[in-house]
Symmetry: C2
């Protein structure tokens, strides 16, 4: 792979230019911005690679960019997304979220880690292969969607309508990178999600707060309703919520046991004295990877500016995500939430369904996972850490699990300080080039596995 | 008073110009905007009136505009303020908050009702008197402060340092107007307030929400802490909170009984099906005027934009005002709140003190109240309604009660649809001119009472 690596080194400037062009478009799915423009940019990049490309309409959703290149007995599907999280709160960014900046060996921009960096470095790895090693030893197919950050609402139908494109031997997931000890990480599953917005309403308009004696306050109603969802000890109080949670298997627990302890580094990085309930080590990992959550992601009501304003709000809103462990179902959680609020006397609080996804798991011993682990060690000179599953979420169920396709994460440029979904999202330049090398070696290993 | 009324009619255009000039300056004390400019505008208006004026420094706070004019055995103090509430949320205004607009016989602008309208019409009433009736039959002194909307933090010290300016025979309060049946309203007291902001903190920065398994969520901690402050039945749960509440006297209850029932009009105006606990009539009034509150005025945490963002917030904030009934003390409530949060396990939640004021009451039978009631009937041709006290708050304690000065509200242009503190704050043009006539008649009545 020496020529492959040399090619990467020699083309760093153009490779970064291509990445920056992609990062400059604010493709925020939640805000319906920059979607068509970004899909076209991605398709054009695949065309320059020499791939066959299609922009596949999703009936009102963001288009999927599909591209395929190479031939061989096996097909590797690569799943990425070109949409990004909202950049707010903008004032907490040290440089503009959509104008990439390099500082201290890191690239700062919304989406550089999640997921435009991985998308671009994987394309560039294929270019480097073709330029230095000849034809690909397998067929590579890319599915690049534009709604991952809003729970991929169009992808289940896309998968049903385009099943022939998804008959593959393995799927490389969008995520990948190194942990807080800089060891490469491989994982084989994802949590599901159900995202909702709760809306409580009071008077027709904001009133002078002196009226709080006699006029209902939706901020209080929302607060009380939220307090019925989850107890201060962290337990979700919605009846039936934990009924379908599948506990980790013996193999899962064995994988957890082999993950090095990095609790203290994580605590320092997050700036907190301890994890919830003082969890550490395997118990922390087990809680993190195998239990569902109920998380307030956003709260807003009344006056939120500087100083005081004596107002009785007319509306209060909470955004909540439930991360779902296998084998929970998003629709079930949505129904349980409605039933619970009704039973607690909060039938007046509206629930807006902002998307759901099933959890998914994959075999820890598939040929793809073995190839990903081997290629990671070949790249970084140290063994990969195998996580049985991720705490994060993606459309792994319709794309992989429903079709029996093995899946792995890896060949990505993430690291522990990457601040995914937060201000100052960044990747390290060195990781970007290393992940590209990893991608080349993964192609090599999976082709011959 | 015929010439007086005619003068008003003849000068409407200039009078509105003067009001609009004042409304155009965004003198938002909470945001420290436009304060010095507005104080100067007000002082210049008093100088055009021929008053002796002073701009009195308050040691870091907004200056107080003091003006005095006329001679006579009695002195009437008029208390107004030139600061306004924040205009946010700006998107809910039908026209710009700081560019006054006339539509359907109403003037729309932040502060037109609270309190720039009353300030200006009272000055203009004095001008009309001087122009048509000769010298004033009493001395009028104005105290116009610039921090009323942030709980008048500088006024207690101002009152101590300038006690000689406050030796007066009665004080006309800033508020005044007509109720939902268009009857003039007079009241003789104000609630106190303690305004706080609660701040809960979690990780050093916003994290990907998948970390909610193991990293504390300040939005949840704030929610749980808030739920300990007040029960869903409306009762404040802070120990000792109700200990010093003075119940209404027999005279207070008699006044309440004489207030006409306008429950249904209020419910329709607020757009709610019923008041809290289904209260109506005298019981609603008693709750409204004589009980303290604990009100969430604002909530903010994490992502509050469109759609979904899967974020674990690093901070959550709640703005809360406590309206205090006589004889509660703001400092006591602040201490009780801290003790309660500590006892409930929320010592980590910070309390920012955003200002407190004592409640105040005044004699329902003072010469000033009688003059205000008589002059209201002379102006509007119908009896005034006497409220024993207001549900709102102001610095009535240091300015009046501490000095034994009788106080009354009245001679103001408010009405039931005025949307004080809310978007589309407005007054009716007709009320503006009528309140000016009321002010003239109040001078006449109080001078001879």
């Amino acid at each position: 792979m020496e020529q492959f690596d040399t090619y990467i080194d020699a083309h760093q400037e153009r490779f970064l230019d291509e990445l920056f062009t992609l990062l400059r478009v604010p493709s925020v799915a939640a805000q319906k911005r920059g979607i068509a423009e970004t899909a076209t940019l991605v398709q054009q990049r695949f065309e320059r690679l020499g791939a066959s490309t299609r922009l596949i309409d999703t009936k009102g959703g963001s288009p999927v960019v599909y591209a395929t290149i190479g031939n061989g007995p096996r097909t590797l599907l690569i799943y990425d997304h070109y949409d990004v999280q909202p950049a707010e709160p903008l004032e907490l960014w040290d440089s503009s979220a959509f104008e990439p900046a390099i500082r201290d060996g890191k690239i700062y921009a919304r989406g550089v880690a999640d997921n435009k960096g991985n998308l671009m470095l994987r394309i560039q790895a294929v270019e480097a292969w073709l330029a230095t090693l000849g034809g690909l030893p397998l067929r590579v197919a890319f599915v690049v969607e534009g709604e991952e950050e809003i729970s991929s609402p169009s992808l289940p139908a896309f998968c049903r309508d385009n099943a022939e494109l998804l008959r593959v031997d393995g799927c490389l997931w969008e995520t990948g990178g190194r942990n807080i000890d800089d060891r490469p990480v491989v994982s084989c599953g994802a949590k599901g999600i159900q995202y909702v917005e709760l809306v409580a309403r009071g008077a027709a308009y904001d009133l002078h707060s002196s009226n709080a004696t006699i006029v209902p306050n939706p901020a209080w109603r929302l607060t009380w309703a939220l307090a019925t969802l989850k107890a201060p000890d962290g337990r979700v109080l919605i009846p039936g919520f934990y009924d379908h949670v599948r506990p980790p298997s013996a193999a899962d627990m064995q994988a957890l046991e082999s993950i090095p302890d990095n609790d203290d580094e994580l605590l320092a990085n997050y700036g907190i004295p301890q994890f919830l309930d003082g969890l550490r080590g395997v118990e922390r990992l087990r809680r993190h990877l195998f239990t569902p959550t109920c998380t307030i992601c956003g709260l807003v009501s009344g006056y939120t500016g500087e100083g005081s304003k004596t107002v009785l709000p007319s509306e209060a809103r909470a955004k909540i995500d439930f991360r779902l462990a296998p084998d929970m179902e998003p629709a079930t959680v949505l129904r349980q939430l409605r039933d619970h609020l009704d039973a607690q006397g909060y039938a007046d609080i509206a629930i807006i369904d902002l998307g759901g996804e099933h959890p998914a798991r994959s075999d820890l011993n598939s040929a793809l996972v073995r190839a990903t682990v081997t290629s990671a060690e070949a790249t970084y000179g140290m063994p990969a850490i195998l996580y049985p599953t991720m705490a994060g979420t993606g459309p792994m169920y319709p794309l992989c699990q429903a079709l029996g396709t093995p899946v792995t994460s890896g060949a990505g440029c993430g690291y522990h300080g990457t601040q995914v979904h937060a201000p100052n999202e960044n990747v390290r330049l060195a990781d970007y080039w290393l992940a590209m090398r990893w991608m080349g070696r993964l192609i090599q290993e999976f082709a011959r596995a």
